[in-house]
Each structure stands twice: as structure tokens, then as C-alpha cells.
């Protein structure tokens, strides 16, 4: 089994508690991988350490133990290969939309001429349908438009992978929907590897190839990886009409509502093996939801997904 494109290996992060010597262990000994071209979502309750993982992956934070290998390189700091889309858009308010994207482009290509940088930035602003508003400052843009600039800025540096921390959670449902459509379109065009945090089960089902379920913190772990068994070509409008939609959704909701907490409270719950089990909820009877039917996933079967051992009892929830 070859190493995944993003390989998280024994990742541990502890924070010193402000009161006294005790340490807060956010998570301990995490192992999981994301394949090249794969769209992975992380779901878990607030405070379980999702942003902490993403920040370590981005190189903005360092793990207490363990490491991440991304695109064959040990993650030891931020890199232009790993673009981050922040929850708050994090645009520079003194620069126009174009200026924000240009800042990123000129960081990626220091040798380019102004005209080259501008043309490249405009191309990505057009990709998120912001040509025409490129001279507006972030304060003059709507929340959705700001997030689009953030996406354009991230894509414009042509990163190997895209890291998104709840990119749409601050937006209203309609805007969120149109941005999700845009992410789908962009990804279909680029096959970008994406690691995304979300609180929204439907968003995960719409966008992700696989969904990492994290237990509640502290000492959170990835309890299981849910392979998205919906057809590859899926739209927001058709999502809930898919036969596998409700089994998937119920599985995720059930995890968030009861199991994430129950697992965190049960000291025996964490299995000793490193790789989280892969679950494939389908409309078929429970015994079908195993790796014996990888084609039922409707996904490009990544090698480590197919080879992962799956406990059928866990699949049944």
C-alpha cells in the first residue's frame, strides 16, 4: 500500500492549560490519508480539533507529536502548495478584490510582469464570476462575493491541495448553495485535492468523496471514514432523491447526535488499530455496506479505501 497524497501519521496536539500545569490533549495519535484528487470532509462537534488539524496541515501550527506528509514532503511550515480558504474570508481590506488575488499571484510568481500578474488574477476572478467587481474593496462586496475572492485567491496560486475551514458557514443558505455549486464546477474542472471542514451534513454529502467523523474532544479521534456512496455526478437539487442519500445522512446525523459523544465518554471505545474503519452506508441491507461491494460506493476506489478492514458491526452503527 503506497502512501496517500496527504498522510497524517500519529498526529498529536496538546495545548498548555492557562490554569496550572495540566495539558489539554486535543487529539492523540491520529492516522488517516487523503488521496490525490480526493475531496475529504471532516465533520465533528465544535471544539473537537478540526481547525487544529487543518492549521497543522496548513503549516500554521505544529503538532506536539507525529507528522503529516503532503505531496511527498514533510509538512514543516506553510507552503504555496497548500492554499487555505479561511472561515472569515481573511481578505486585506485595503486592497481591491483584484489586489487581493494579485498579492497571492505575485507571491507565487515573483518574476512575472504586472500585466502577467493582472491577467492571471483576472482569469481566476472570472472563474468565480467576479469579473466586473474586481475593483471593489472587500467592504463593498457581499459576504458571498468576499468568500469567492478568497476562493479565487487560493486557486490562483495553483496549489497542490486546497484546505478549507468552514468556508461557507458564515453565509446564508442561498449564497452557500450557489458557492457549493461553484466549488463543484471548479473541482470537476481541476480535480483539485481538497480537505474541508464543515458542520453541514448536506454540504459534506454534496461535495465530499469521503467524510471523516471525529469524536468529541478532548482526546478526539477519527472514529470512522464514511465513503460517499452517492453517484459522482450529483447536484444539490437531486441530492435527496438518491437512494443512498438517507442512509448516508442518517448515519452522519446519528454519529453527530449520539455516537460522537458516547464514543468520547467510553474509554474502551477507541480501537487499537491505526486506520479508521471505512463505512459505506447504502440503501441495501447492512451486510451489503461493506468492502465486498466496492462498486456500490460509486467512487473511484482509492487503494487504501478498498484495502481497509471494515467491521460490519460498526457499519450497522
Amino acid at each position: 500500500m503506497s502512501k496517500a497524497f496527504i498522510s497524517v501519521e500519529g498526529l498529536t496536539r496538546r495545548f498548555p492549560e492557562p490554569s496550572g500545569k495540566a495539558e489539554l490533549t486535543v487529539f492523540e495519535d491520529l492516522w488517516f490519508g487523503v488521496e490525490e484528487g480526493e475531496f475529504a470532509c471532516v465533520i465533528g462537534h465544535s471544539g473537537c480539533g478540526k481547525s487544529t488539524i487543518l492549521n497543522i496541515l496548513a503549516g500554521l501550527d505544529a503538532p506536539t507529536a507525529g507528522h503529516i506528509i503532503a505531496a511527498g514532503k514533510h509538512v514543516q511550515g506553510p507552503s504555496l502548495d497548500r492554499a487555505v480558504i479561511f472561515q472569515g474570508h481573511a481578505l486585506m481590506p485595503w486592497l481591491s478584490a483584484l489586489g487581493n488575488v494579485e498579492l497571492a499571484v505575485s507571491s507565487r510568481h515573483p518574476g512575472w510582469s504586472r500585466a502577467q500578474i493582472r491577467a492571471h488574477a483576472m482569469k481566476y476572478l472570472a472563474l468565480v464570476h467576479l469579473d466586473g467587481s474586481e475593483l471593489k474593496k472587500p467592504a463593498q462586496l457581499s459576504g458571498g462575493m468576499r468568500q469567492r475572492v478568497g476562493i479565487a485567491r487560493a486557486l490562483a496560486i495553483e496549489p497542490r491541495m486546497l484546505l478549507m475551514d468552514e468556508p461557507f458557514s458564515a453565509l446564508d443558505a442561498l449564497t452557500r448553495g450557489s458557492l457549493q455549486d461553484e466549488v463543484i464546477a471548479i473541482r470537476n474542472a481541476t480535480r483539485q485535492t481538497v480537505f474541508m471542514i464543515t458542520h453541514d451534513v448536506d454540504e459534506a454529502l454534496l461535495l465530499a468523496d469521503k467524510i471523516l467523523l471525529m469524536t468529541n474532544g478532548p482526546k478526539a479521534w477519527v472514529a470512522e471514514i464514511v465513503a460517499n456512496t452517492l453517484p459522482k455526478e450529483r447536484t444539490r437539487a437531486e441530492l435527496h432523491k438518491q437512494p443512498n442519500y438517507y442512509p448516508l445522512r442518517n448515519h452522519l446525523i446519528d454519529f453527530l447526535v449520539t455516537r460522537s459523544r458516547a464514543l468520547a465518554l467510553d474509554p474502551e471505545a477507541r480501537p487499537s488499530n491505526r486506520n479508521p474503519p471505512v463505512i459505506r452506508p447504502t440503501a441495501a441491507p447492512p451486510h451489503a455496506a461493506t468492502s465486498h461491494h466496492p462498486q456500490s460506493a460509486g467512487q473511484a476506489p482509492a487503494p487504501h479505501l478498498a484495502s481497509a478492514r471494515i467491521a460490519a458491526t460498526q457499519a450497522a452503527g
Partner: protein, 279 residues
Amino acid sequence: MRIGLTLRAGLVSLLLFGLFVGAWHIGTAGTGPAVKMDPEYAKLMGATATQGKSAMPGPAEVGARIWQHLKDPFYDRGTNDKGLGIQLAYSIARVLAGYLIAVAVAIPIGFLIGMSPLMSRALDPFIQILKPISPLAWMPLALYTIRDSGISAIFVIFICSVWPMLINTAFGVASVRREWLNVAKTLEMSPGRTAWRVILPAAAPTILTGMRISIGIAWLVIVAAEMLVGGTGIGYFVWNEWNNLSITNVITAILFIGVVGMALDQLMARLQHMVAYAD
């Protein structure tokens, strides 16, 4: 009919100005009986006192003097008789020299303090002690060590304008939003590029606020400093005209000091507006 607020405010301003000038005129026009006084003192005080007229010039007199100065601002008839324009130019040059040196010192050090918690702590006691010292208290020391009254005045301007800029720069730099710095990091920007493209524009409004406070203080202090060091400048002019008992010139100079101070402040306000951003 509704009249615009600006227009109404302007009318009220005019009315107040008229009332003030009127009161001033009435207050200084009185020709009371001549006061009996020591002839020596009477000679010193000049005709105004001996003839029972108020020593305070009236608005017409001051107006005529202002006009006279405006017509010929740059005449030079020796050390003690130079045009107001020349005197103001000396003062402005000193203020700008001291102020620009202060900018060159305060902004880099402010960056250092704002970016390094260590330097922030290490320099804090010095700043806390030096900041409340009246800039004029430095004057004797400056005169003794520098041995040049003009440069000493510049030094005093430097020392009084450095603190607001230093403190505001440090504060502005320290409070640059973390997410902007994270963006710079993920874009692999060098520290220099981050300082220039992210921290400086982010902190610019705070820095400019400090610079605006500084120029105001510098203009306040230059008058006092020039009264002490003498020779040239608007402060020296005021003091010299007081010694000449020319209250008319003193009042004229006061007005010009106000106008120049306002112009400097408006200039900084313009710059402040240029770097402001809506968040």
C-alpha cells in the same frame, strides 16, 4: 425653505465672529482719562498708555497689520526685523526636520516593538519614563551637548514628536489581525514583504493617527522652544514683539500660528484619509 446645515453653521460662525470683533472693538476703543504714572514707566509704555488709550490694539489695527504682513511676508531688515513669512518658514523647517527624524526613528522601532514581545517588554520601562518628560526640559541638556541653538530646537521637536508615533506604530503593528499574517505565511511571503505589503498597510491608519498627534504637539512646542533659543522663528518673533511692546504684532503672530497649525493638521488628515480602509 430649508437651508443646508453647512450654510447655517457658516452663518452662525460669521455672526459669532462679528460679535467677537464688535466686542473687541468696543473694549479697546475707550479713551479714559490719562492715568497718572511714573514718567519712566510712561515712556516705556509709549503713547498708548500716556494718552489714556488702551494698550490693546483694536481689530482694525490688527487687520491693517495682517494685511501689511500678507503684502510683504518675506522682508529682511536685520536680525530683529524679518517678515512673518520668513519667521514662519524657519519654524516650519525646524518642525519638519525634527519631525521627519522622529518618523525615521519611531516607525522602525515601533515595528520592532510591535512585532517582538521581547523588545516590547524590554523597551517599555524606558518609554514609560521618557514619555512624560516635558520636551523643554531637554533644552538645557541639548544646548550643552549640541552647542547649537537651532539644532537644539530641532532635537526638542524630535523628542516631543517621537512618542505618539512610536506608541501608535507599536500598537498598530501588534494588533494586525492574525488571519492576515496567516495569509502572508501561507503565501510564503518573506518577512520584509510581509512588513511592507501586509503589516504597514494594516497598521497605517493607527500610525497616521500617531503622526497627526505628533505634528500637533511639535507645532505647539516649537513656539516655546524658539522663545527659549531665540534668533529666528515665529516663537522668537512673538517674544521679540512682546519686548517691543507691539501687541498688534503679537496678536497677528498668534493668528498665523493658528493658521499654520491648522494647515499642518489638515495635511495629516488628508494623508490619514488616504490610508484609511473600511473593515
